[in-house]
């Protein structure tokens, strides 16, 4: 059974992958749509400049879309890093240590998973506004310096809803962790930090990475919470695209999404190639 994988399994896997990528293929096809309204496919576009790649070229002139993309990426990366670090720490604490506030910590970490996004969004908004009002009036800040909603508040909120997902995923990994390896390291004279760094962490890495990827994914597409916590000038891609719905989701957006996918896939294959060479 060990390395012989049944062809049925492979077939099922391929089918599920197909399911996952079906809309992606459709999405890419529509990036070449000649109809601006982009409701039905009306043939491949062929316009100056760039011919069939007309919409791809237009994306680069769309400053709003580009700004939104950069914001989204910045927010996702920053919040993922923070959430992964503190989430992993919390997972270790919850899985291995008994401490006084453990039940409270456990419950509080479940809350962002169960709370409806709009409740969280409005709640955080009210909190930030109260805080800012307090700071602005206490320090009597000039309008230009007043604290307000912006990228920072979005990042902070994204960390808040990402941490539980990281913790949960890492705990799954820790759950079936055989402590014998750590004990062996200790017997060999390693202190706690070294054991962690060179034994534990590498072994839980798949869980940490999975958690980080979850956090990144959640942040990338978040809409409701971002809507309530962002300010003028810190629009993200989901909000920008959702806003286009009122008028038209032109093929430009499909083109933008296609480029995102391409970049990610290229990065993926490239790093895989590099890894193969070094192994």
């Amino acid at each position: 059974m060990s390395n012989r994988r049944s062809p049925w399994l492979t077939l099922t896997a391929v089918l599920v992958y197909g399911f996952l990528y079906l809309p992606i293929v459709v999405l890419i096809i529509f990036a070449f749509n000649s109809s601006r309204q982009n409701v039905t496919f009306e043939g491949i576009v062929n316009r100056d400049p760039c011919g069939p790649f007309y919409w791809f070229c237009r994306v680069f002139q769309n400053q709003d879309a580009l700004d939104a993309s950069v914001n989204t990426l910045r927010i996702a990366l920053t919040s993922t890093v923070i959430a992964t670090v503190i989430g992993t720490m919390a997972a270790l604490a919850l899985q291995r240590h008994a401490f006084r506030l453990k039940l409270f910590a456990e419950t509080s970490l479940y809350i962002p998973i169960v709370i409806p996004e709009i409740v969280m969004g409005i709640g955080i908004l009210v909190l930030f506004n109260a805080l800012f009002k307090f700071i602005n009036t206490t320090f009597d800040l000039a309008p230009a310096q007043r604290l307000g909603l912006g990228l920072g508040t979005v990042i902070i909120s994204h960390v808040a809803f990402s941490v539980p997902f990281v913790t949960l995923t890492v705990r799954t990994r820790l759950h079936s962790f055989d402590r014998a390896v750590e004990e062996a390291a200790a017997d060999l004279g390693a202190n706690a930090w070294t054991t962690f760094r060179r034994v534990t962490l590498p072994l839980i890495m798949p869980g940490v990475v999975a958690g980080a990827m979850l956090a990144f994914t959640l942040s990338l597409d978040d809409f409701i919470i971002t809507f309530f916590t962002n300010g003028p000038g810190s629009t993200t891609l989901p909000i920008y695209v959702y806003g286009l719905l009122r008028r038209t989701v032109t093929p430009e957006v499909n083109a933008l999404s296609t480029m995102w996918i391409l970049v990610v896939l290229i990065a993926l294959f490239a790093s895989n190639r590099v890894q193969r060479r070094t192994s």
């Binding site: 809309p23 529509f30 509080s108 709009i118 799954t172 990994r173 990827m213 994914t217 933008l256």
Partner: protein, 286 residues
């Protein structure tokens, strides 16, 4: 001081967990308390909260209201309970589908050669890194071609699609951890593939399935955007209800009560589920 830190596991635990806890307290506990307080309040004509103490919102949610069409006594209106039931039903079916479809894929990736694993995993997530609206719009076109658009089946397809990676990932992490030598041992002992699966693989991958269930069931309970777009906004779920209360109906007290009930339900399910399937103890493989 550092010595005490090194020796006290309890203190270490507190310190490790504190950044996360502080973040949660600041950004969630405080607003949550506000929501709880609001749920016991009353609505003024403009939609603001009058901070009193009344169970009216909860009573209304359960279906009992003081005003009846014929103006007599209290009557039962199952409207909101139906909505809750619909959300639970959708969450259950979605979870089952994601497990059934996701498990084989998670297994496939977990048993793949180490070099390929990360890439295969990434490939599962990449679709989620496109824009949500565009993805769903692509589904609209696909479903339209199959004449399935704006039906309950369309909603299910959309939900399963959006949440299957959140099921696959945790399942993968626990499947991947299973020592391959276990499989060899089972084979040596004469177990068939099916028996190996049932007695070795499944039990050991259970934590992953549990985690995946939580990551799917709970958000589906509260979500509504996919069901709105693919279902044509015909199906009212708890998420819709809550959103409407805070926005269109300007009735934050009722919305707060609905949120508390939703959160309470899912919290209870989560705690029972994780306790039963033992998140607390560690499995020792002998």
């Amino acid at each position: 001081m550092l010595q005490r830190l090194r020796e006290s596991k309890s203190l270490q635990g507190t310190l490790l967990a504190s950044p996360a806890m502080l973040w949660m307290i600041a950004l969630l506990i405080v607003p949550l308390l506000l929501i709880v307080i609001t749920s016991f309040g009353q609505r003024d004509p403009d939609g603001n909260v009058i901070y009193t103490f009344t169970f009216d919102n909860y009573i209304r949610l359960m279906g009992f209201s003081a005003d009846c069409p014929d103006g007599v006594g209290t009557c039962f209106n199952s409207l909101y309970l139906e909505i809750l039931a619909r959300s639970v039903g959708l969450a259950l079916v979605t979870t089952i589908f994601t497990i059934v479809l996701g498990y084989p894929l998670a297994y496939y990736v977990a048993r793949a050669p180490a070099k390929r694993r990360n890439m295969l995993l990434f490939l599962i997530l990449v679709p989620l890194w496109t824009n949500f609206v565009i993805r769903v719009y692509a589904w609209i076109r696909i479903l339209r071609a199959f004449e399935m658009l704006y039906t309950p089946q369309a909603v299910l397809v959309g939900m399963v699609y959006e949440f299957i990676p959140f099921m696959i990932l945790p399942m993968y992490t626990s499947l991947e951890k299973i020592d391959p030598s276990l499989y060899e041992a089972a084979a040596d002992l004469g177990a068939s593939s099916l028996r190996t699966f049932l007695k070795v693989t499944l039990p050991l991958s259970l934590p992953g399935v549990v985690a995946g269930t939580l990551l799917v069931f709970v958000p589906v309970m509260g979500t509504f955007v996919v069901s709105d777009i693919l279902g044509g906004k015909q199906f009212v779920l708890v998420g819709n209800l809550i959103q409407r209360q805070f926005l269109d109906a300007r009735d934050p007290t009722f919305g707060a009560a609905a949120s508390i009930v939703l959160m309470g339900m899912t919290l209870i399910v989560m705690i029972i589920y994780t306790r039963k399937f033992g998140f607390g103890e560690e499995v020792v493989i002998t």
